[in-house]
Amino acid sequence: MNIIVCIKQVPATNDVKINKDTNTLVRDEAQSVINPFDTYAVEEGVRLKEATGGKITVISMGIPKVADILKECIAVGADDGILLSDRAFAGADTLATSAALAAGINKIGDYDIIICGKQAIDGDTGQVGPELAERLGIPHITCVRKIEEIKEDYIRAQRMTDFGYEVIECSLPAVITVVKEINEPRLPSIKGMMKAKKAVIPVWTADDVGADKDKIGLRGSPTKVIKTFTPEININTEIIDGAPEEQAHKLVEKLLQLQIKVPV
């Protein structure tokens, strides 16, 4: 089974500091890591390979440094890594990212399943997986928590929903996005690390993958960020006075304004 795993590099922490004057992110040489959700995707790929044989190719779009993170995937069991890196890819929103990945994956060619993490922790959109599936013209299943059965041209999986789960089957090739319940990612092995150290990550440009320049990067991105700002967070303790009923009422009113999602 030929398995492709899509990964993204993200800042090591989403506890970003904001420069209050300029309203921009302060990234003091923040360390970059593989998106945590993508580690489950890589692990699931490795487990599939262990069960069915085949090959795992990990692909990412990003700056040249992302090659290091692709190598980390090799250390935990992936066979190859491919980096899509080109100024023409820069400034991509999810739609343009899916176009770049689709072009890269089409160049790889032969694949049975594409695995992505549920979402990336920096953008939290979770859109690239389904958009990629649409671009490749294949079905997708999001939020997979368990692969029940997989055969040459068929997968049956459990998808987590807001109220429980559902069992879905679809033909392969397909894209699945995985949640962290699906597995526990392994640590690398020394042999894997040595293999990773020696690995050469091919870097593919937009021309290499024959990407349509109108569909990738800034040009291919319909959405545009026009403003960023820091949400107001009150760090001074506010003591709520009054009779007990009043205190409770005031508190709940304040908390409801935070508009935090309450599971039903």
Binding site: R186, L187, P188, S189, I190, K191, M193, M194, K197
Partner: protein, 385 residues
């Protein structure tokens, strides 16, 4: 201190550290309280290839030596010495096979041990034989193509969990220390059974059991080396594994130092962090110095052995005795720095202090180590005359 590790050694150390921090540390307290064998962690160590770091590549290992083994033991011990000894004891069981095994024996047993598929153990101690090996009573009587083993080994690390045991038994009582032989015994051999898991002061995650032989028939090809070589097998084995105990002690000391130093920085008394008091500063300074000195001695010894030195019992004993005494001292001081908190099981340093104690006792008590060192010294100076 920079020990100028090779790139591969650095890799091994980093991976072991990551396993220690991410997988061992979070469960160390629970394993200690429940006295539970760390099966999960053994599996992780196996998948990471760490069981094979000191094993030659032709037997499925990574081709490193005692230095690599010490790096792993040290890092694991920072988080939990009980886990570390479960790992290290497999090496104690495998090393005699590497040293004295026939090619067939090596091919049969070592690859699985290197892959972590099988754990090994070394069984010497008995009720009446600890520091004095000549007290061994387990008998191995030759019967055609078999040896028949009878007797009981005591306090065997990985007892009951290991699949492969290297056992010391008497083959000829009249020959004294030349009357012992070492045998490889597989776990499922009829006549081999295990006693209950011992309740210990520390290293509680590790399994310590009696290993009992009742008319246990071992094929004669399972003898290690020749009949009568058992004592040599044991001594050569310990010479190579004592630095590992030193590494364990260094790891325990480092874990205690790390915790105490960060605690001292956070703990406020008299309106300031206690790390601002000279009384605490000097304790921390001594702890750090002693730990580093112990590490330097352990690494130097390991490298000397790996470089092919012929005679290293003295250095090996020095590394073990010094590092274990340091671990006891440093962990005791760490408890002292934490004060009342240090004495509570909610904080990890009391466990480290309990764990440290065993490093002064097992694989030859520190008194026996000093005997070895003194004997070598006397030999050395006597020969100068």
């Amino acid at each position: 201190m920079d020990y100028f590790l090779t790139e591969e050694q650095q890799m091994i150390k980093e991976l072991a550290a990551r396993i220690a921090d991410e997988k061992v540390a979070p469960v160390a307290r629970e394993l200690d309280e429940k006295e539970e064998f760390p099966y999960e962690i053994m599996k992780i160590l196996a998948e990471s290839d760490l069981f094979g770091v000191y094993i030659p590549e032709e037997y499925g290992g990574l081709g490193g030596g005692i230095t690599e083994q010490c790096l792993v033991i040290e890092e694991l011990s920072r988080a939990c010495a009980g886990v570390a000894v479960s790992y290290a004891a497999s090496g104690l069981g495998c090393t005699p096979i590497l040293l004295f095994g026939t090619e067939e024996q090596k091919q049969k047993y070592v690859p699985d041990i290197a892959a972590g598929k099988k754990l090994a153990a070394f069984a010497l101690t008995e009720a009446n034989a600890g520091s004095d090996v000549s007290g061994i009573q387990t008998m191995a009587v030759k019967d055609g193509d078999y040896y028949i083993l009878n007797g009981t080994k005591q306090w065997i690390t990985n007892g009951g969990e290991a699949d492969v045991y290297v056992v010391l038994a008497v083959t000829n009582r009249s020959k004294g220390s030349r009357g012992f032989s070492a045998f490889i015994v597989e776990k499922d051999t009829p006549g081999l059974s295990f006693g209950k898991k011992e309740k210990k002061l520390g290293i509680r995650a590790s399994a310590t059991r009696e290993v009992i032989f009742t008319d246990c028939r071992i094929p004669k090809e399972n003898i290690l080396g020749k009949e009568g070589m058992g004592f040599i097998v044991a001594m050569k084995n310990f010479d190579r594994t004592r630095p590992g105990i030193g590494a364990q002690a260094v790891g325990i000391a480092q874990g205690a130092l790390d915790y105490a130093a960060s605690y001292a920085h956070q703990r406020y008394q008299f309106g300031q962090p206690i790390s601002s008091f000279q009384a605490i500063q000097h304790m921390l300074a001594d702890m750090a110095t002693q730990t580093e000195a112990a590490r330097a001695l352990v690494y130097a010894t390991a490298r000397m052995i790996d470089a092919g030195a012929k005679d290293f019992s003295k250095e090996s004993s020095m590394a073990k005795v010094f590092a274990s005494d340091v671990a006891m001292k440093v962990t005791t001081d760490a408890v002292q720095i934490l004060g009342g908190y240090g004495y509570m099981r909610d904080y990890p340093v009391e466990k480290m202090m309990r764990d440290a104690k065993i490093t002064q006792i097992y694989e030859g008590t520190n008194q026996i180590q000093r005997n070895i060192i003194a004997l070598e010294l006397i030999k050395q100076y006597a020969s100068k005359k």
